[in-house]
Amino acid sequence: MSATLQVQIKFFAVLREQAGVSALDCTTSARTPAELYQELQTSRGLQLPAALLRVAINGRYTEMDAQLQAGDRVVFIPPVAGG
């Protein structure tokens, strides 16, 4: 059996447009952001390849294979273009 977690996801820029929403509360069996993104690619039709993404959890950059905790605020960061 795999336990599920409740996490909060926020989308920006191209991902917000692809997801059709800017935030989402979701129950997931994913253990890592990488697994979570894979789920979202299917459920929300996200097209940006995972290899191009970075991820922030609770407002800090972290790794795509970090451990998700219940209540985490997860943000997938598309390639940035500041300046």
Binding site: K10, F12, A13, V14, E17, L48, P49, A51, L52, A56, G59, R60, Y61, V75, I77, P78, P79, V80, A81, G82, G83
Partner: protein, 500 residues
């Protein structure tokens, strides 16, 4: 300081905030919205930010630049919202006493900001089409990433995806960012060593430039680690470079080598070479060492867990060479010689990390001669009585332990001190010339540690040997065992002669 704003940026007001009497320069970068990109017309840009993280990252970027370039004051403002052509999107100002640091810091801020500030822009075209910059399929293909950067290296069977991942996880220390350290660090960075730590206390000088290829004439007067970090990041933004502006000394060497995957000794003096070697042995970290003398150089790999160490190598037989290579500060140097040897150091470190079978030779010294183009391998001696690698438990801790008093002292100081004993450590074939030795001198075979310890317990004891290296190593070891009244006499001990 960093700010995000959805209001037009007033550059004059920002510039005024940087004004201060001690500043002699202010470098300002302004990023403007332009009317074209990749061959298409642009009508306006829409900037979106992940506010919470952007403020954190922006502050961190400004603080890092101020830390890397002491004396610089950084102010950076980034816009969000919809911006027409000609509008100011980002403003970076750096005030500093001198222009060079201000230029470097300003460049660092804009490059880091473009690399990691979570801000996105959408380009709108006259035909109504729009796309997010860097997020299109074409942009993804041309974008610098670990997939395309290392493509030609990962294709080597000795590297592959596993090897590349090992390089990305590696944490390598390069001590000395000069002639050897420049090419060594450059190849380590471009090969994808995940964390590269640079240690050097020096500033770039004019006379460095002919051989220290990380630096340009613009870097004169700047700390070598600072200039090198900027250069290496420009070469490969995917790796992490950590500059440490310090001398390597007994007090910090253990902390510097701890936890490294490998250490490269690119220094030019013997004291540091022994210190690093001993610290690596103690920490169990492999060491890649090189030294250059004019047109020639030598390369050694040391395995921290096997017999055969630097003390074995210099146990007295090649002392003329040792003295001539003791320091190359001010020595003439053929630039390609440091280039070749530094490059070889990078190659050896990479092979160690990749664990290429049979590719790491810990038993031989490689001698490279650029005058006749030869490379020779010479088997390194393993000293049966080595006080360092043959004493696995006593080990070198001592050598790197900070001592309250200097361990190695001059002959004059020994004479004033009148020690209880001066022990002449003799190798086979040597004897003590009693006619020229001080009255408190006694002779012992070099391997007789038991007796040395015994005598040293009785009072202030000075060790000496024919060349002064092994006695110093042993004295440091005994200091580390808690013998506070042990010393070594600096240099060679003249009263030791070859037995007849």
């Amino acid at each position: 300081m960093f700010e995000l704003t959805d209001q037009p940026i007033d550059s004059g007001a920002l510039r005024a905030r940087l004004t201060r009497p001690e500043a002699g320069a202010c470098v300002v970068f302004e990023g403007w919205v332009r009317n074209h990109h990749a061959g298409r017309l642009v009508t306006h840009l829409e900037y979106e930010a992940f506010d919470e993280l952007a403020r954190l990252e922006g502050e961190a970027i400004a603080a890092e630049a101020e830390e890397a370039h002491p004396g610089c004051l950084v102010l950076c403002v980034h816009r969000t919202g919809s911006l027409p052509v000609g509008e100011l999107a980002v403003w970076i100002g750096v005030a500093s006493a001198h222009r060079h640091a201000a230029f470097l810091a300003c460049r660092q801020v804009i490059e880091e900001l473009k690399r990691r500030l979570p801000v996105w822009k959408k380009e709108h075209h006259p035909d109504g089409a729009a796309e997010w910059v860097n997020c299109t399929a074409e942009a993804a293909a041309g974008r610098l990433s670990s997939e395309n950067y290392y493509e030609r290296q990962v294709a080597l069977p000795e590297v592959g995806a596993t090897g590349q991942a090992a390089l990305a996880k590696a944490n390598v220390l390069v001590v000395g960012v000069g002639g050897l350290g420049s090419p060594a660090a450059l190849y380590l960075a471009t090969s994808g060593i995940g964390r590269l730590v640079l240690v050097d206390a020096g500033l770039v000088e004019v006379s460095n430039l002919h051989r220290q290829i990380l630096f340009t004439a613009d870097d004169i007067g700047v700390a070598k680690v600072t200039a090198a970090t900027a250069r290496l990041k420009a070469h490969n933004p995917l790796v992490q470079i950590e500059p440490i502006l310090t001398e390597v000394a007994a007090g910090n060497v253990r902390a510097l080598v701890a936890g490294r995957t490998a250490v490269l000794d690119c220094t030019d003096n013997f004291a540091t070479r022994f210190l690093l070697h001993d610290a690596c042995r103690l920490a169990g970290v492999p060491l890649v060492q090189a030294a250059v003398y004019r047109f020639e150089g030598e390369l050694n790999l040391f395995d921290a867990h096997a017999p055969g160490c630097l003390h074995c190598l210099w146990s007295g037989r090649e002392v003329n060479k040792l003295e001539s290579m003791a320091t190359c500060a001010g020595e003439p140097v053929f630039a390609p010689a440091v280039g070749v040897l530094g490059t070889m150091q990078a190659a050896e470190a990479l092979k160690l990390i990749l664990r290429v079978p049979g590719a790491s030779d810990f038993q031989h010294t490689r001698l490279v001669n650029l005058l006749d183009g030869s490379i020779q391998s010479i088997e390194r001696p393993v000293d049966t009585f080595c006080p360092v690698c043959r004493q696995p438990n006593a080990v070198v801790s001592a050598i790197v332990a900070p001592a309250s008093e200097p361990v190695v002292i001059d002959a004059d100081k020994v004479a004033t001190m009148q020690p209880r004993h001066l022990i002449a450590l003799l190798e086979p074939g040597e004897e003590l010339d009693l006619s020229s030795a001080p009255p408190y001198s006694i002779a012992l075979p070099i391997g007789n540690l038991v007796q040395v310890r015994e005598l040293a317990r009785r009072g202030p004891t000075v060790l000496a040997c024919r060349h002064g290296l092994r006695s110093a190593a042993l004295a440091r070891m005994l200091r580390g065992e808690g013998m506070h009244n042990i010393y070594a006499q600096a240099g060679s001990f003249a009263a030791i002669r070859i037995a007849h």
